[in-house]
Amino acid sequence: KELQQFVEIEQQKARFHAQVHKFTEMCWDKCIDKPGNRLEAKEEACLTQCVERFLDSTHFIVNRLDEIRKQQ
């Protein structure tokens, strides 16, 4: 049972990392135009908000799909 739990936690971590890789690519393209000598405060805010708004947007889509399904 402990082994099972260990495997589940590791799988969760793997999914988390896979998402972070995907988000980094997408938000890097949106927020970092020219990599400078340091990460500007504006760029950092953009990255954080990019992740948050992407999750909002996906959440909005999933909810809307549910509503459409109910209406049918």
């Binding site: 997408m26 938000c27 949106k30 927020c31 953009c46 908000q49 990019c50 948050e52 708004r53 992407f54 909002d56 947007s57 996906t58 909005f60 889509i61 999933v62 809307r64 799909l65």
Partner: protein, 71 residues
């Protein structure tokens, strides 16, 4: 059961591709919240994406049938 698993996998892929494309198109500068205009854009974008999926699916199915009936 296998059929269900596949339908789920298929819906997840649609959701994933749609989310990414509509986010990139509609949220140009991510702000402190998802604004109304951005949400409206995402709603339109997902409707059009799903319609496009159906149009593409029909066109591809027609093409496969035409070939099969030719040979």
């Amino acid at each position: 059961q296998m059929r269900q698993q596949m339908a789920v996998a298929h819906a997840q892929e649609l959701l994933q591709k749609m989310s990414e494309r509509c986010f990139v198109k509609c949220v140009v500068k991510p702000g402190t919240s998802l604004e109304l205009s951005e949400r409206q854009c995402v709603a339109k974008c997902m409707d059009r994406y799903m319609e496009s999926w159906n149009v593409v699916s029909r066109a591809y199915a027609n093409r496969i049938q035409t070939y099969s009936s030719d040979s």
